[in-house]
Symmetry: C2
Subunit: 313 residues, 2 copies
Amino acid sequence: MPDLSDVAAVAGVSKATASRALNGSGLVAAETAVRVVAAAARLGYVPNRAARELARGRSGIIAIVVPTLDNAFFTPIIAGAQARAEEAGLQLTVAVHALDAAGAFDRLARQVDGFLVVAPRGNDTLVASSGSAKPAVLVDREIDGMTSVVADTASAFGTLTTRLAAEGHSRIVYVGGPPGSWQDRQRTAAVRDAARQAGSELTVLGPCPATFTAGVEVTPAVLETGATAVVPYATSIGLGLLLALGTRGVDVPRDLVVSTEPTVIEALGLEHTPAIDVDGEELGRTAMDLLTRQLDGQDEPGRQVRLAVPVRG
Amino acid sequence: MPDLSDVAAVAGVSKATASRALNGSGLVAAETAVRVVAAAARLGYVPNRAARELARGRSGIIAIVVPTLDNAFFTPIIAGAQARAEEAGLQLTVAVHALDAAGAFDRLARQVDGFLVVAPRGNDTLVASSGSAKPAVLVDREIDGMTSVVADTASAFGTLTTRLAAEGHSRIVYVGGPPGSWQDRQRTAAVRDAARQAGSELTVLGPCPATFTAGVEVTPAVLETGATAVVPYATSIGLGLLLALGTRGVDVPRDLVVSTEPTVIEALGLEHTPAIDVDGEELGRTAMDLLTRQLDGQDEPGRQVRLAVPVRG
DNA sequence: TTCGTTGATGGAACCGGTTGCAGAGGACCC
DNA sequence: GGGTCCTCTGCAACCGGTTCCATCAACGAA
């Protein structure tokens, strides 16, 4: 396993020059640099991550902190972040903090260069302070002063509600998400506004955990309202609704329109059913981009990015 | 940020002794060790991972390679492995290899101490060779000579089929999984055997990707067989079936029994419906245990563990 | 011709741990 | 009392890079 001295020897230069050449420091004569790079390639040299990390004082590791992996909303975010991390030569480690977020941060803070924080719920100050030790990017939530990227689902939920109302749904149900969810607050407000402006009657149910079981359980309450359209906080809740409605013989979408996401709508061939299309991978990619820019000093903390969320169907 | 010399100074010993004390080498007098540990605790000392890694020549990083995160079967495995890794003081990095598994291994092999390989499909020799550079544990698949842990779903599928037959289902459908899936081969064989022995007629459909869309799409074919019970390869396929059956007005389970997993059965209140209960987290935990034992030299490669899978309902 | 600059390079310290080896000191045996 | 062995400890080398600083050659200007 060749090391930097081997490369230097083959190229006929010192370790120092070899290091500079391979890192493109610009202080090396072009011709020398070419020689070094060629030598490295010939030997199949791969830098030792640990040594580099020790010398540079940076680990090259980013942690993405998620509350759970059981939620299909989070996994694309991880996948997107992972892809970008790989491109940037960084390792991504996934930390699941069911409850003990603070503990997870403390343990990891010394080990990583930065955090991607997916913390849909919980106290603002707590979340903010957790990421204070190292650069952090908050995903799908906004807190003043923290860099963040969110999918603008609030607008999308508003649009979707407006559209439903325009199609004649005068009674609409919104099934709310988990208690304390930042996105749920945004969405509830947006749906309320849209319904009021369109003159539709809105019932807000919930809170519900983002699971299909919760969707099943909330079904009777939804039917009781006599609504003709239901907008669930999460796709998983929507799936639960669809399943339960099926076993109860309710005709979807004739008797009740259930908005979920495009793949579901399409697979089931549902008509007259609007759906919001959140690109989780893009969320992950953007978050990682924001973090690397911050690590490179190209960005100040505090930048807030909103990704538009299309409404389909 | 305290370092080992600080700890040593406070404890009144040398770096060497401090290091040994903190790593429990046993060469340190008990009383000295206590002093060092106390000093470390007081200073809030956290060892520098990079330095340790460089000195030891091991990275303390394990990679878990999964084909995708979009499949709810894999995520609990990751969660379980993650939990165990944390206990063992190891970092876990998640590598997603949609297609390019070999590439993922090459890139990572220098960076990590070992692999957890989740590769349900694909060629045996390819999978086996991928993990050859570093210790590896294969998850939910068996290949001769490789350490592995599998959920014994084949037996469970057999039991489940037997039970369905015993309850009077003389026509059963098995909806097969993705092409080339190792588990699918095992399950198909087990289901075939059980059906034959019980004298039930079995139709095997598929192959199907493990998605709920595939479940929706296969529904007409299932209904066409006239079967009264269907056993899908994956929960996601089962959910698709249930959704599509609901929109078609088929009464589940009266007209057709769909076996899925306990949470689904329970949430929907389905009766007469057996379900297999795979503990994905246990799979992940066991895999990580096997790997750490191998890294510590306590185990030889090649050990194969099978976890029993209960059939409920 | 000589001096000051600039650009390229090398020497060596350093990052923060681990570990081989040697040595100090005490216990035990002859 | 002297020698041997054992236990515990410290010194210093080492892991493989990065980077500060000094050096040196070449070149333009005075």
